[in-house]
């Protein structure tokens, strides 16, 4: 039996973890195995944790505005570690104008404030490899 494993992580220095925690619980309640790794992580820590737990999804949350730097770095490190199939999604205070750039950098989807958690669940179910 293969369960979907999701790593929920907050890169950078932002400590606002309400959204990350709510999403983590909603994913648990949707039947996923959620590895919750907390705040203030470097992209390297996140990528290495994703490798060790062989997760299917990495869900990043960031409200400080540093997403354009940190999200793509996580994707690059995952690839460098040979994790080509991991679905990377992001959420937080992210202006619409930044979303095309993030998608080009390998972030599969970006969820902005007001997104129901069920949308995130549906997206993962539809896109997880």
């Amino acid at each position: 039996m293969a369960n979907v494993k999701v790593l929920v992580a907050k890169p950078g220095l932002d400590g606002h973890d309400r959204g990350a925690k709510v999403v983590a619980r909603a994913l648990r309640d949707a039947g996923f195995e959620v590895i919750y790794t907390g705040i203030r992580l470097t992209p390297e820590q996140i990528a290495e944790a994703a490798l060790q737990d062989d997760v299917n999804v990495v869900a990043l949350s960031l409200l400080s505005g540093a997403h354009n730097t940190l999200f793509p770095t996580v994707v690059e490190l995952l690839k460098a570690k040979g994790l080509e199939d991991v679905l990377v999604i992001g959420g937080g205070v992210i202006p619409d104008a930044d979303i095309p750039g993030l998608k080009a950098a390998g972030i599969a989807e970006v969820f902005t404030p007001g997104t129901p958690t069920s949308n995130i669940v549906d997206f993962i179910n539809a896109n997880v490899k």
Binding site: D17, R18, G38
Partner: protein, 548 residues
């Protein structure tokens, strides 16, 4: 009418209404009763004991006798982004447009004691606030602003001592002595562990830094509010109104206990403690929360700590409208939300207020949107009539009943936290975080089930164009700050820096008050990262280990 007659009348009314209702009302899960009467206050409602007069114990109706008939609250707009130069421009603009106090937002590296050049600062420099690396940046930040004329609030916690020292040092350069300085540092580490996340050191040395500041300021910076015990972020993290004030007052109790344990007299520092509330959407619940919080704190200080001075018992509060209630959808609606939240804070009797801008669910605010937010306060102050009389909702059956209810819920939590062993222990055990998370999760699920309506989010949605004209922080700020640090290190007296840092390190290992040592290092232009680095070396770093 006698009490029994009112009761009988209420029963008749209720029976009549129930008989006529043939279907469940749309908002069936509302918490308040349909109607409030004197019955809800109880027969023996004691005006003097429960409410008293403004400026008098238990301060339910307000902390000053005249409230806004004396002067309006301080209109204090939280601002800061990018470099000190950019932020200085915004500060001058706000002061020129009727803002009556400054409120500094620092970027995350500054809040967590890293220089802009630290690897951990990657991508974060100048993003959520202004980047301050040394006294040199602080001098630019307050350039042209006389520090004896303005009161300044700084949202800084773990390294509060360092930023306060920088402020004092800037004042010295302006020829302003420390005893003239007015303002506030947030300095509330417990809520950082519980809800906001910008901690550096473990609890014990953090509490020492806080009591060091209390002691230093009581002697040298007497007009300074040495802490802003903050419920704002607890509420933003998802708590209820009752939890917001309960957990925050429990934190307050822990600070008072720590200061008393450090040998301070309660009346010597308690008058400089201040609070920070969130103004949320439910207007009357918020008003009741403000009123209840004053009553609880007054009792805590008088009965638990034996404070003698009235000032020590007053819960003075800064307020910010709820950032988490701003929606990214139909952002103009946020102007209305902020206006209602402003009304709540004003009817609740706040001492100062920051109003959020409509675009803050999307990015940092533009000058235009900040202006609307400031004008909102001015409209409420000058046009609405809400500020014309003290505690205008005092005596409302509903608001009084709600005030009692919130107070009772707060006491229940405070008692529970006492049983656990106080707020630091309750945070270490994850109790407070868990309560907040449960409330946050319930809130989100209520929205997803449609039990709670947020206009434009889960009802009355419409197609809209992506907003334009958002403030972007230039990605080159990190580089600019790095150049500034390099130039600073080339021109300052590095031997002096080493000497002051060595002295600080020695002091950290001992028991002395650290403020004078930090001030010396700041004056020598040691960077914030260097100063906090020394403290990290001696104190170690706090690691969050609470999961959900």
């Amino acid at each position: 009418m006698a009490f029994e007659e009112i009761k009988a009348g209420l029963e008749k009314y209720t029976a009549g209404v129930e008989a006529k209702l043939d279907k469940a009302p749309e908002r069936a899960n509302l918490a308040p009763n349909r109607l409030y009467t004197p019955v809800d206050l109880g027969e023996g409602f004691d005006y003097v004991e429960k409410l008293g007069f403004p400026g008098e114990y238990p301060f339910t109706r307000g902390v000053q006798p005249t409230m806004y008939r004396g002067r309006f609250w301080t209109m204090r707009m939280y601002a800061g982004f990018s470099t000190a130069e950019e932020s200085n421009k915004r500060y001058r603009y706000l002061l020129a447009n009727g803002g009556s106090g400054l409120s500094c937002a620092f970027d995350l590296p500054t809040q967590i004691g890293y220089d802009s050049t630290d690897a951990m600062s990657e991508g974060e420099v100048g993003k959520v606030g202004v980047a301050i690396d040394s006294l040199a940046d602080m001098e630019i930040l307050f350039d042209g602003i006389s520090l004896d004329k303005v009161s300044t609030s700084m949202t800084i916690n773990a390294p509060a001592s360092v930023l306060l020292a920088m402020y004092i040092a800037v004042a010295e350069k302006q020829g302003v002595s420390a005893d003239k300085l007015r303002g506030t540092i947030q300095n509330d580490i417990l809520k950082e562990y519980a809800a906001r996340g910008t901690y550096i050191f473990p609890p014990a040395p953090s509490m020492r830094l806080i009591t060091n500041i209390f002691e230093y300021c009581s002697k040298n910076v007497p007009l300074w509010n040495t802490i802003s015990i903050s419920g704002y972020h607890i509420r933003e993290a998802g708590s209820t109104a009752s939890q917001e004030i309960a957990f925050t007052i429990a934190d307050g109790i822990a600070y008072v206990e720590a200061a008393i344990k450090a040998g301070l007299d309660v009346d010597a520092f308690a008058g400089r403690l201040s609070f920070f509330w969130n103004a949320h959407n439910n207007v009357l619940e918020e008003v009741a929360k403000f009123r209840a919080s004053r009553r609880v704190w007054a009792k805590v200080m008088k009965e638990r700590f034996g404070a003698k001075k009235a000032k020590s018992m007053m819960l003075r509060v800064h307020t910010q409208t709820a950032g988490s209630m701003l929606t990214a959808q139909q952002p103009n609606n946020n102007i209305v939300r902020v206006a209602l939240q402003t009304a709540a804070a004003v009817m609740g009797g706040t001492q100062s207020l920051h109003t959020n801008s409509k675009d803050e669910a999307l990015a940092l605010p533009t000058t235009e949107s900040v202006t609307i937010a400031l004008r909102t306060q001015q409209i409420v102050a000058y046009e609405s009539g809400l500020a014309d009389t003290v505690d205008p909702l005092g005596g409302s059956y509903y608001v009084e009943a709600l005030t009692d209810k919130i107070e009772a819920e707060a006491w229940e939590y405070i008692q529970k936290i006492d049983e656990i062993g106080g707020a630091p222990e309750a945070i270490a055990k994850g109790y407070i975080q868990k309560e907040i998370q449960d409330s946050a999760y319930k809130w989100q699920m209520d929205i997803e089930k449609g039990d709670r309506i947020i206009v434009g989010v889960n009802k009355f949605q419409q197609e809209e164009e992506p907003p334009t004209n958002l403030l972007r922080v230039d990605g080159s700020v990190g580089k600019l700050q790095a150049d500034k640090i390099a130039a600073l290190k080339a021109r300052r007296d590095n031997a002096k820096v080493e000497e002051t840092l060595a002295a600080l390190e020695k002091a950290c290992a001992g028991d002395d008050n650290l403020m004078p040592f930090i001030l010396d290092a700041v004056r020598a232009y040691a960077t914030e990262g260097e100063i906090c680095g020394v403290m990290r070396k001696v104190f170690g770093e706090y690691k969050a280990n609470i999961t959900l």
